[in-house]
Amino acid sequence: MNSVHDLGGTDGFGPVVTEADEPVFHARWEGRTYAMVAAAVGARVANVHEFRHAIERMAPVHYLESSYYEHWLTALATLLVEKGLVARAELEREAPGFSLARPVHPRAQPPSASSGAAARFAPGDRVVVRCDHPPGHTRCPRYVRGRPGRVVRLGDRCALPDAAAHGGKARQFTYIVRFEGRDLWGGAAEPDTAVYVDLSEGYLEAP
């Protein structure tokens, strides 16, 4: 889905604000939320792809205004309700005020195509990223869609996030693809810059 989480190339956010001697967790509940999500994923309440997609399904303004671990807490509560482990009424009684993520898009379907035994592309191959806009989960950032690049490294054959987030089992090779700055940003690109993105086989086609 084309949600606000897909931030690459977006303007207007201002300078990067760093913090000296930053603690690992800024509040006790943050560390405990991290651990709860680890436990829930470990217990197979949901997989990491479903978890990421639950964050992406947060209302855009809520996503941008809330802290990182509020994203985690929201996604966890959303998945517990959607998986039937907690009734919405029980959650509201015990933990009032949750603004849960929005439902999965009704047309979100897991792609079924797995990679063959052999990888389709090899290092050095020119590729173009397909211009797809799936309504469900994807790990193909918008800023590379339709753009030409070159494969620099073959990765492992992994669960396809677009499938795994929606109950699918497809597995595909991943590739590290190099994109020249000017092919992504045109004349606004800074000189001698390149972006490397990990992309699943199904996101790519021959030019």
Partner: protein, 201 residues
Amino acid sequence: MSEHDDDGHHHPQPPSPIELRARALEDILKGKGLVSEEFIDSVVGAYENDIGPMNGARVVARAWVDPAYRARLLADATAAIAELGLGGPEGEHLVAVENTPTVHNVVVCTLCSCYPWPVLGLPPNWYKSAPYRSRIVREPRTVLREMGLELAESVEVRVWDSSAETRYMVLPERPAGTEALDEAELAKLVTRDAMIGTARP
């Protein structure tokens, strides 16, 4: 932070709404047997004490003093960090990218917060923030300059967006004038930001 903290007495603040929701969710999960106090303590303790940039610093220092280890790290970083007893979640597909006099590498996750936990721990807030994620792929030289890292025009900048299973760590250049330092002393020079690529050691 409480406004009363500086008077020497502890005045507990009422928990914030998000804290209350986290606590309530925790009770629900505990009630269903999905999480235990021991598990929470062990996970929080691990990331607060044991899993952090000091691990990656050991890897970098070893690569600086041992050319054969450096070669193994660049060929298969997951196997190379396992030699130092490191590994685990978000480190199963680790790639080390090497800075040279002509190439500078920097790591991001534009879609969320992917990060090489076994070597760097959990990411700082700025790494997960909208400004960094939105801008570093489009104007890396400007962002790095703003963060205090000036790069010559002759240096190519490579930005690594961790969108699939691969996680990246930067192998920085060994600073000049460190020939006399041993591996442990070198490790102390290696910062988290140097291994993300937003600073030099």
